[in-house]
Symmetry: C2
Subunit: 362 residues, 2 copies
Amino acid sequence: MIVAPRPLGADATIGILGGGQLGRMLALAAARLGFKCHVLCPDPQSCAFDVVRRVTEADYTDKEALDRFANDVDVVTYEFENVPAETATFLSARRPVLPDPKILATTQDRLLEKTFVTSLGIAVAPFAAVDDLAGLEAALASVGRPAVLKTRRFGYDGKGQVTIRAGDDPAVAWAEIGEQPAILEAFVPFEREVSVVVARGLDGTVQSFDLCENEHRDHILKVTRVPAAVPAAIADTARAIAGRIAEAFGYVGVMAVEMFWVAEGGGRVLVNEIAPRVHNSGHWTQDGCTVSQFEQHIRAVAGWPLAVPVRHGRAEMLNLIGAEVHDHKAWLSVPGASVHLYGKPVVRPGRKMGHVNRVFRD
Amino acid sequence: MIVAPRPLGADATIGILGGGQLGRMLALAAARLGFKCHVLCPDPQSCAFDVVRRVTEADYTDKEALDRFANDVDVVTYEFENVPAETATFLSARRPVLPDPKILATTQDRLLEKTFVTSLGIAVAPFAAVDDLAGLEAALASVGRPAVLKTRRFGYDGKGQVTIRAGDDPAVAWAEIGEQPAILEAFVPFEREVSVVVARGLDGTVQSFDLCENEHRDHILKVTRVPAAVPAAIADTARAIAGRIAEAFGYVGVMAVEMFWVAEGGGRVLVNEIAPRVHNSGHWTQDGCTVSQFEQHIRAVAGWPLAVPVRHGRAEMLNLIGAEVHDHKAWLSVPGASVHLYGKPVVRPGRKMGHVNRVFRD
């Protein structure tokens, strides 16, 4: 039994699983629309706790806490893709959970995700399932080298993946990822990494933001630029792909589709990864667009109409990672720059501490 | 003894006196910059309570509560101009209070305010002090009719004022405002009501937003449009006046200066009223500008550098008053419109429930 969603009244409370910066920015966007939020997170130092009145500090598997949380909210959404399946099932029996947690089963597993995307007739890099070392040898024979071996589950920001080049010993790579179920992906000589942040409403309406291009550093997103410097036809194709995936999922909320733009041979787009949540590559929308990805997500899960996004100009988002958070001081005085800090109490290397959005009217 | 302000660290807590929509939007802007907020307000249903973790529900004269509040915050600011003087004095001995509460003594009293502005060589409509009925007769003789009789203190949204036209009995007007200390102002045949929202930083930097024009209905702001349709020289003069007032006050934070644009005789600007706080006529900045008035105020009271505001285009703000809050549904689907709802639990006639910002790139 699951509880079906319906449009919320303006006095409703939205429950958010996860208390990081995405939860925080979702709560801030919800507040603009008059909604209250209740954040559940096991971490007592959750930065999202600071911007809501009601918080639950509890583990995601704490049934008693989940029950109290569900009773206090009108709809549940989440800021991260690794919501445990049993948590989702437990909550779904009590309140609508959006986007539908069934989607997580697909996006939490790289093999299921690629298989799903491929089934829609959408291109991905050549891949093969890997369950043991023999399977890895076979996969390398079919996919070729260089290739990237990735765990099927729980990989993010470059964790759980290793590149296998000519001469590399597959056994070392297999040991490195912990001998877990994996997939091997062909290493695609792409021109740019691009992404589409797309929203789908409860009424089935789809609205995508403009295609952006992303630069990573140490496997962590560093810069997003929008619009992406790709041919218009590529941008149109990419946005259409994101819309088709959202529709195929029956998705409600905001998701991001990361893709590779491969320029050779006339140009094409390959889907790399789906993030079933608001996404770092959509942060520019807070200042560069008439509606942010966070508000668009809240509108969707509230069953309210999506906004039609209109971009203010060329935009750029720069992550402040680890000690780079101190750079915010210099950014405060740059005309057209908007500084966002997440209020995280501890600076750690690789930790996303804030970001800077810039809008250019040229 | 007062505590002198200094720049806050990013982990600081800002105390806000007043829990209405202005306090709420200040807290949301502070959260973008990573600050925590603590809101103090006597009303248990304060809509600003919903967007912060720490609240104090107490009267502004409750010394024990004020002491606890002061101990929990690094700086104190306020969302309304009628902060009791004893509250300000009590808090100032414990934490920096910005803008300096001494300014409130001037802006809380129309006679002191007009006298102060006039002392800067800035024009206001002709006025005279009125302390009794005989004084009102004398004031009418000097100022002429029509004229507006206003209580010196605690007037807002048209409360505490009455127009005296030819043939009206001054005694009736005097009774109507409760026989309180008042001023009589000449009724100026103005072309437009305009306002400047100006910020002054702890370092003395002044940044003003573009001049906007305001339309009132039943003495309550209904629409703000920016830029105001006035000659460029008038807009420059108006912004310069606002900056001079902020400097003369040694102001830290955002304030609004409401003015009349009188077109006849070559055109001039008369200062009508000063609001020592963020102001309804600055709400358009949330979506129409690279920095909002709320963030600008937070930057100022935090001792951080002010941002250089860059407007995205022509902008318009429409208040949703009383039952008009239900109109938000239609606005949600209008491209370029941003809906803001304050989460107030009870709709009352004349109550500000939300607003809509629109940005036009024409």
